[in-house]
Amino acid sequence: MDVLLTSTAEAFRLLFSGNPEIWEIVGISFRVSSMAILAAVPPALVIAFTLAYGSFPGRRFLISLFNTFLSVPAVVIGLTLFIILSRQGPMGDFKLLFTQTAMGLGQFFLCLPILVCMAHVSLQAADRAAWETARTLGANRLRAFFTVLYEIRFGLTAALLAGYGRIISEVGASMMLGGNIAHYTRNIPTAIALETSKGAFAEGIALGIVLLFLAFVLNSLLQYVQGKGSINP
């Protein structure tokens, strides 16, 4: 109990004492995860769209496949990429292992299935007439695509939050692919793992609270944006 109390106090001290190290870790966390999710959104939307509106053999199979990917442990994705990115692996020449790019790649593959599945569900729940109306009004595919995305923007926001939530807090793949290098690939989750293994529980919990706090701020911001949108449903 004592640990929890002191840790909470420590968390706020860390956050607001202007400790540059903690903000660097926070910055790395958000930079890498934002990079990953930004890269994942366009392909995820295209895949979700194809799965929702397309009709081609293997569609059902692909949907189940993406749903299965939802439950693949992060370390498995981490290990697979590790083998691929290692110098002896097929992509070794790019020297990506233990870089932010490698971490970002891991997070990319972690959030892709979430984005695909949740966007797919939103698209299926949406009225197909939205797409057809746009098309029959003369919108080209791309235009109609963005029109439909705007129609389901709340579902998409939820998908973004869920995807971001998974990767910002993910430790296994980040540790394996980034290597937890100080000032470079040390993000909040790997820093927590490190502090814990050092026995510095207070710092670990403090970092956890930092993560929670920032996630809360992010969520509130998005809630605010959504709230604005819902005045005119």
Binding site: S34, R87, L97, G179
Partner: protein, 269 residues
């Protein structure tokens, strides 16, 4: 609104991305070394002197050597003498140098139900635990510490098996906590012990026997095998680590007032 957010996100993307070149050295070391804080103290000084930035990757000994073997890092700092020699013999590494050593200790419940404190050698300690069948927690993760523990069992002519011998497959810190929770014995490196000591009820029961000494070696990855490793940088770091000034700093490094590492150069063990 959306456009602004996008702009912000893109500008985040463009920000710094370190590139791999001669001014960057990748050092794989063991978790316990990294956790001790020694390297955090030393490496910035090395960078200041040589302008070589060091990326420290903390993994288990087995993984560290593997990273070296595959050419994913430029240099390794580990403590598993037999494995290190095999690594060099196989041509994966070169220019091995002794850097320092610390020691392992045997910890367990204060009541010491196996009576280990009366032992003169670590082999005797293990024999007593084996005979009493009191719980012994093993890392069980193929780490340097785990490998050393198995060697010690061998030299005590006892095979650790039975329900009292528990392999947990966790790091040293977790292993200590588990030992603490179930009043078991375990073997730990002194650095992790010092970090965890205040949270634990278990005590040091045995220390100081030479087989418990734990030498650290630094090995450059063989450039003949991996031509694009930063070999010159690795050699610089090896020279620097074994230089008198650095050796002195290692000897003076303390956690909670206790010296953790004994410099190897000029301290034949």
């Amino acid at each position: 609104m959306f456009r602004k957010a996008l702009l912000m996100a893109v500008s985040l993307l463009v920000m710094g991305q370190a590139s791999a070149d001669a001014s960057l050295l990748r050092l794989a070391t063991t978790t316990s070394t990294a956790n001790s804080g020694l390297m955090d103290m030393l490496l910035p000084k090395f960078t200041a002197e040589t302008s070589i930035e060091v990326h420290l990757i903390a993994v288990g000994t087995g993984k560290a050597l593997r990273l070296g073997r595959e050419g994913d890092v430029d240099i390794v700092l580990v403590h598993a003498r037999a494995a290190e020699d095999a690594f060099v013999d196989a041509g994966y590494g070169t220019d091995r140098a002794d850097v320092m050593y610390n020691d392992y200790i045997i910890v367990g419940p204060e009541t010491d139900p196996a009576g280990t404190a009366k032992s003169n050698t670590v082999a005797e300690v293990l024999q007593r635990i084996h005979a009493s069948e009191k719980p012994f927690i093993s890392r069980g993760d193929d780490s340097g510490t785990h490998k050393r523990e198995l060697v010690l069992w061998q030299s005590a002519s006892k095979s650790p098996d039975g329900s009292w011998y528990r392999e947990v497959g966790q790091g040293m810190g977790k292993t200590l906590q588990i030992a603490n929770e179930i009043d078991g014995y375990t073997m730990t490196d002194r650095g992790t012990w010092l970090a965890y000591e205040s949270k634990l009820d278990i005590q040091i029961l045995f220390e100081g026997d030479p087989p418990l000494f734990n030498p650290y070696g630094i090995i450059a990855v063989n450039p003949e095998r991996h031509p694009d490793v930063n070999y010159p940088g690795a050699i610089k770091l090896i020279k620097w680590m074994t230089s008198p000034a650095t050796q002195k700093m290692i000897g003076e490094f303390k956690i909670k007032g206790q010296q953790l590492f004994v410099p190897s150069v000029g301290n034949a063990s």
